[in-house]
Amino acid sequence: MAKILAVDDSASMRGMVAYTLRGAGHEVTEAENGQLALDAAAAGGFDLVLADVNMPVMDGISMVRELRTRPAYKGVPILMLTTESHTDKKMEGKAAGATGWLVKPFDPDQLLATVKRVLG
């Protein structure tokens, strides 16, 4: 069981991710945008962050960049939830410090497989 922060402005996507991960026994905190995620992350203790790229207020890439400046989040896995049409976004995310990505659309099994991949 891991503590996971799920960040997406879309309630349906965020809900699906959280529901799936909770079903697998993880503890999930949800955030609606990058700024709220940073606030939630300040409390600390997340083993994994899953973040959408396109969000209002603060996008996922800026969020990753900011999160990586915090010592507590130096090596914590952060996965970008991105759509296939934006190969450049994957690289932009990586450059900002993301661990990897999960391409939308994904189904619960793919999500769990990917989470397992980073958490071992």
């Binding site: 396109n54 914590v76 896995p77 990586k94 659309p105 189904d107």
Partner: protein
């Protein structure tokens, strides 16, 4: 969506996508009026979310449609293409197409239709190609080998990005047997070793007949963070490729089919999205309620007269909390009218273009909250009023100029609180109602004998009569058989009323007055024999006690009484509802003068018991529909009282008279 629990998010997805489409539409309209570039990002983001979710939640057709729209938007966003009228036009039609697709998704119908295929083609054509774009470059076809040699040298900073070389090697081990050799050449002396950096490299032999891309997939996140080479082991025997992994495809189809099933099942259910602070305040109130209850509970153990003030205080608190809780719970049903107003910019734009008129739309009070049910039903009457205002009210530019007005007409939508009601106004600065035309028409239709002596108010009221239309030429837009009488009917079904005020050459104001909520009404409790009836306060004009000679009986058995210069029919509730033991002589009882459906009547009752808020319980859901009764409520003593539906009673009376 193989899991039933996930189906709920499909519903959420549809709702948020419809909101996203509203945002796209309003932003496109704002762009059309010269809005700034930030709008393009907003539009793009909305399209992007719909695309991402559509495929995830089992709507691939929608995903591929949105992909086209998004690609076009991306070109605009990236500065490759200037936003212009044709693009806005096409995007607006794309929004319409997507709305249609969501409607069909809810109905469980095939998502694509001729229109969506057509618009999709136009989107592609605008980007100068026929086929939809293939996303991303195709992965290099994998060459196969019986065994592989992998050189993997992470850059020093790899750990910081959350990628652990050990994890990657373990993943490789999942593909087959490994022989791993560590390269320690970069390892610094212990004193200078930074444990947060990567200093090792590995030379890995994978003894398995896998494809190159399977290995590359393990390293896909770290391509830019390591030196990597993947080479077939020279001595290996090339074996045939393993069967392609085709298993997932049928599973997906089955999933999609299952998803469609749940979609049909949940199509009719409706939900409300509630702001977190509203929920928090309710939780807070419930907390206080529990505390008060605990305090009152102490009286169960020990009831001492000296503690009476405390008991009274506790009961007062309980009453206050219950009232506040009721208000907050009712508040959940309250939603801003913005969602209704937001459909008008588009409607006004399309209509005014079609009619060659210039119209500026002014929206006010968008944040005014209405009951969800009212909100859902007020849209159609408003659309009708807005269509009418543009079609008949506002003049063409030439006429406006000739009248000394600005060429651009103004249409204003406003919503605000007045007393215990919500008022929604649709006003225009057009020509105003044509009194002569209305009177002429009403005489033709036999609604009145002549217009002499009719107040402007009464003339305005004529247009709400069934079958009335004043358009000189019936246009394509209004006058399709649905008249203002339907607007009045719709509004009065919501417990509201609609009136018009108009001044020649200055314009008209249609005022819709609606109750705050449909779930609770303010009413007067009237006694009729042993029964109690609730008469909605909004429809009451006054109550009067009649002298015996004030009642006139007319041919056909109807009773009339004179009230402020007009004769009003008397409806005896005890007769209508068959109550035993009610008062029958007119001077013993009371007449409540009420107005509904545009007419006034006097309700004869024994007397008034008091005023109260009544929580409306559906009679249809618990019993069946009863003419003249809109619902029931439970009184303080536990008995049931029926809530009188004034408009229904008036209609019922009209029919009895006609029969």
């Amino acid at each position: 969506m193989s899991n039933a629990g996930l189906a709920q998010f499909q519903q959420v997805f549809i709702e948020e996508s419809l909101e996203g489409l509203d945002t796209m539409e309003s932003s496109l309209l704002a762009l059309d009026e010269g809005g700034d570039g930030e709008l393009v990002h907003t539009i793009f983001r909305a399209a992007h979310s719909i695309k991402g979710g559509a495929a995830t939640f089992g709507f691939p057709e929608m995903a591929s449609f949105t992909h086209e729209a998004e690609s076009l938007l991306d070109e605009v966003r990236g500065g490759k293409r200037a936003i212009d009228k044709p693009i806005i036009e096409l995007m607006l039609r794309s929004v319409d197409c997507l709305r249609g697709m969501f409607d069909r998704a809810r109905a469980g119908e095939p998502l694509n239709d001729a229109t969506s295929d057509g618009v999709r083609g136009e989107l592609a054509a605008m980007m100068g190609r026929e086929a939809p774009a293939q996303a991303g470059p195709a992965r290099r076809a994998g060459d196969q080998a019986g065994a592989w040699m992998i050189q993997f040298k992470p850059h020093a900073g790899m750990l910081a990005s959350g990628n652990d070389p050990l994890r990657l090697i373990r993943e490789l081990a999942g593909l087959g047997e490994l022989v791993v050799e560590a390269d320690l050449s970069r390892l610094p002396a212990l004193a200078r070793l930074d444990p947060s950096e990567c200093h090792l490299g590995w030379s890995i032999e994978l003894k398995a007949p896998v494809r190159r891309e399977d290995i590359a997939a393990v390293f896909d996140w770290v391509e830019d963070e390591c030196d990597l080479s993947i080479e077939p082991k020279p001595t290996a025997v090339v074996t045939p490729a393993p069967a392609p992994a085709a298993a997932p495809a049928p599973a997906n189809i089955a999933d999609a089919a299952a998803a469609r099933g749940t979609r049909e099942a949940s199509a009719e259910s409706s939900s409300v999205r509630v702001a977190i602070d509203k929920i928090d305040s309710m939780i807070n109130l419930v907390g206080e309620l529990v505390i008060t209850q605990a305090m009152l509970d102490t009286f169960r153990e020990e009831f001492d007269p000296s503690r009476l003030p405390l008991l009274q205080q506790g009961l007062t608190q309980l009453a206050r909390h219950a009232r506040e809780l009721q208000e907050s719970v009712m508040g959940i049903r309250m939603l801003p009218i913005a969602s209704v107003f937001n459909r008008f910019p588009r409607l006004v734009r399309d209509l005014s273009q079609k009619l060659g008129k210039q119209v500026k739309l002014d929206l006010h009070g968008e944040q005014t909250e209405l009951d969800k049910t009212v909100l859902e039903k007020i849209g159609d009457p408003m659309v009708h009023l807005v269509r009418n205002a543009i079609d008949h009210g506002l003049e063409v530019p030439e006429k406006r100029r000739a009248a000394g007005k600005h060429e651009m007409g103004t249409l204003k939508l406003d919503a605000f609180h007045r007393g215990g009601n919500i008022v929604v106004e649709v006003s225009d600065d057009g020509a105003g109602l044509n009194r002569e035309a209305i009177v002429r028409k009403a005489v033709e239709r036999g609604l009145i004998k002549s217009g002499d002596g009719l107040s402007d108010e009464a003339v305005g009221d004529l247009i709400f009569q069934p079958g009335f239309s004043t358009a000189e030429v019936t246009t394509d837009l209004s006058g399709r058989g649905v008249g203002m009488d339907v607007v009045r009917r719709n509004v009065s079904d919501l417990g509201g009323s609609v009136v018009v005020r108009s001044k020649p050459a200055q314009g008209s104001v249609f005022t819709i007055t609606l109750p705050l909520t449909l779930a609770i009404i303010d009413g007067l409790t009237a006694a009729v024999g042993e029964e109690r009836y609730i008469v909605p306060l909004v429809s009451i004009i006054e109550s009067v006690q009649l002298k015996p000679d004030a009642l006139k009986t007319v041919a056909g058995g109807g009773e009339l009484f004179r009230f402020r210069g007009e004769y009003l029919p008397v409806l005896r509730l005890h007769e209508l509802f068959g109550c035993e033991g009610a008062k029958r002589t007119i001077e013993d009882g009371l007449l409540i003068v009420v107005e509904g459906d545009g007419s006034r009547v006097g309700l004869f009752v024994d007397g008034l018991v008091g005023q109260q808020q009544a929580v409306v319980k559906s009679l249809e859901a618990n019993y069946r529909r009863v003419q003249g009764v809109s619902g029931a409520t439970i009184l303080a003593d536990g008995s049931v009282a029926l809530i009188v539906d004034i408009a229904g009673l008036v209609r019922l009376h009209g029919r009895r008279k006609a029969a």
